[in-house]
């Protein structure tokens, strides 16, 4: 079973990202479930969302405490919480950032992939400079960084899931995927 945890802020699309990832996995014939951390959601508040993917139906209805992969939609959260808490050693840490690994002070040993999803989202007109909607861009990056779910099913899943700006969201995912070519 593959377990993924998303860290973001209310309004950035972390919950929708977890759902799009689950739908993409199901498109590939797998089973998946997605759920948010059930807090009192407010715009701007730190939020977590989770996704489980497996080759058989998902029966566990408990939280995820030791995820394989961790996706960070807002790097500012990294100063507040330990985003790698409980993460498996061989999992990938995917961060939306314009900074370098050194600037973010990420310890050695953890496979880390950085992508400027905010810049991509803004270029594609998704959200505003103060509140960019980065979830589709980061999912494009996820398809490159993590081998478990392919870009085609992520794109199909985005097409079904985003309520507005469908072309821009698809383009953002493709931009991020291309940017990480050769990873």
């Amino acid at each position: 079973m593959l377990e993924v945890r998303f860290h973001g802020r209310g309004g950035q699309g972390a919950v929708v990202a977890s759902e799009i990832l689950a739908k993409a996995a199901v498109r590939e014939g797998k089973y998946a479930s997605a759920f948010p951390f059930f807090g009192v959601e407010r715009r701007g508040a730190p939020v977590m969302a989770f996704c489980r993917i497996d080759n058989r139906p998902i029966r566990i209805h408990a939280g995820i405490y030791d995820p394989d992969h961790v996706v960070v939609l807002d790097p500012a959260l990294m100063g507040m919480i330990d985003v790698t808490e409980g993460q498996k050693e061989d999992g990938t840490l995917l961060i939306n950032t314009s900074h370098t690994r050194e600037e973010l002070n990420i310890p050695n040993g953890r496979r880390t992939v950085l992508v400027d999803a905010t810049a991509i989202a803004l270029r594609r007109g998704l959200g505003s400079a103060t509140a960019p909607i980065v979830n589709t861009a980061i999912l494009g990056a996820f398809a490159r960084a993590c081998p478990e779910v392919g870009i085609d099913s992520i794109l199909e899943s985005i097409k079904d899931s985003v309520p507005a700006k469908r072309e821009q969201n698809l383009a953002a995912a493709q931009d991020a995927y291309k940017q990480l070519e050769g990873l």
């Binding site: 739908k23 997605a34 759920f35 998902i58 029966r59 209805h61 408990a62 939280g63």
Partner: protein
């Protein structure tokens, strides 16, 4: 067709596929998206129902009782304080013999405020005469709504049914749901044709005074219908299996219980986690099983009795507390096992949104295995994962 959706949307699709005629609702977390989805489907013309936004849950249930008298198939959903506010009309729906189907996204009741999942709201309503079915996953929620109408509207039953889904844990989790075709559902679920519909042409009076000389017989009839519902539930599931290829183990699903040294009786979403843990422990040679308590009303006393003959050590997980001697499910199980020499222990947990983790259930199974080998129950009721500093959790 497989679609990804929450249990709340699965419940709404159940109502659509059942061709519910009247949907009367009042929003409350975490049920609200059931009502919203129904409203959306009615607005889009995908669901041919009269959608009524009421001023309270009490009014929603009252409206459905009236609509059902006319012959409408009726649907609503609620949670928590909404269910509590309905209490009076829940009992009236039973006395009026109205086959209303209502998903409940089970939640705490305050105070203080807590919007998260547990079973206190539905357990508190266990004595009102509704059938109560607990669901493990989103698929079971949709399927159970369809089965519920078939049982509720059976002329020998004519009682309302609660379809219970764990608040947030199912209500807000997206999972695969095989949404059946309308034609298949129409084959499975015939239209609601009450024996005595009320109409302008056939005016009649319902719900007047029943004097002391008949009240006992009146209540006894409800008791008999609850008893008949046992068979009807099994028949409805068998027919469902034939039409859709899915079933859920009847009143109580036994998972790896046959040669078990200890079993855990558990209802709702935690049953899935418990099955996963049982598989893991079985691989380690530990013989544990899960008895998923699916139907709580009527209570499967016979099934529990047989389970107790097979397995000596029986734990019961309650996601609520009833301030008697142990939780409600525990007491029902203990009563069904009366006179047998079972080791029994009650575990209280998963309250107010606290996660029921794999580790929690592993600990419970290990505790039960200890009891099974020593034959000694250290205490009757254990509140699990308390922050009491005991370090046990």
């Amino acid at each position: 067709m497989i679609e990804m959706m929450t249990a709340n949307y699965a419940a709404a699709h159940g109502a659509r596929l059942a061709r519910a005629d009247v949907v009367a609702v009042y929003p409350i977390t975490p049920q609200t998206s059931i009502s919203e989805k129904c409203a959306e489907m009615v607005e889009k013309g995908e669901m041919d129902a009269k959608f009524m936004m009421m001023e309270s849950e009490h009014s929603a249930m009252s409206a459905l009782i009236g609509a059902s008298y006319v012959g409408a198939r009726t649907f609503t959903a609620t949670s928590s304080h909404g269910l509590a506010l309905m209490h009076e009309m829940l009992m009236w729906a039973v006395g009026a013999r109205r086959p209303i189907v209502m998903p409940v996204a089970a939640r705490t009741i305050g105070g203080p405020w807590n919007i998260w999942g547990e079973h206190q709201d539905v357990i508190t309503e266990r004595d009102v005469g509704w059938l109560q079915i607990f669901c493990e996953n989103n698929q079971e929620v949709l399927d159970t709504v369809l089965m519920a109408y078939r049982v509720a509207e059976d002329p020998e039953v004519m009682l309302p049914v609660m379809v219970i889904e764990d608040g947030f844990i199912l209500s807000h989790t997206v999972d695969s749901v095989d949404v059946p075709d309308q034609e298949a559902v129409d084959r499975y679920l015939p239209p609601f044709r009450p024996e005595h519909p009320v109409s302008i042409e056939r005016p009649m009076r319902h719900g007047g005074v029943v004097m002391p000389d008949w009240w006992t017989e009146f209540r006894h009839r409800i008791y008999l219908s609850q008893e008949v519902a046992r068979t009807k539930l099994l028949e409805a599931e068998e027919a469902f299996q034939k039409e859709f290829g899915r079933s859920y183990g009847g009143m109580m699903e036994l998972y790896r219980c046959d040669d078990a040294d200890a079993v855990l009786v558990v209802a709702g979403s935690a049953a899935g986690t418990a099955k996963e843990v049982a598989d893991k422990l079985r691989e380690e040679g530990k013989k544990v099983g899960v008895a998923k308590l699916r139907v709580f009303r009527p209570f499967p006393a016979q099934e529990v009795h047989h389970l107790g003959k097979k397995v000596r050590t029986v734990g019961v997980f309650d996601r609520s507390y009833t301030f008697g001697d142990g939780g409600a499910m525990f007491n029902e199980v203990r009563s069904a096992l009366h006179g047998q020499r079972n080791n029994m222990k009650n575990y209280i947990g998963g309250l107010g949104g606290r996660d029921v983790t794999v580790k929690n259930i592993e600990w419970i199974f290990e505790d039960l295995l200890k009891i099974a080998s020593s034959g000694k129950v250290d205490r009757t009721v254990e509140w699990v994962a308390l922050k009491d500093g005991s370090g046990r959790w």
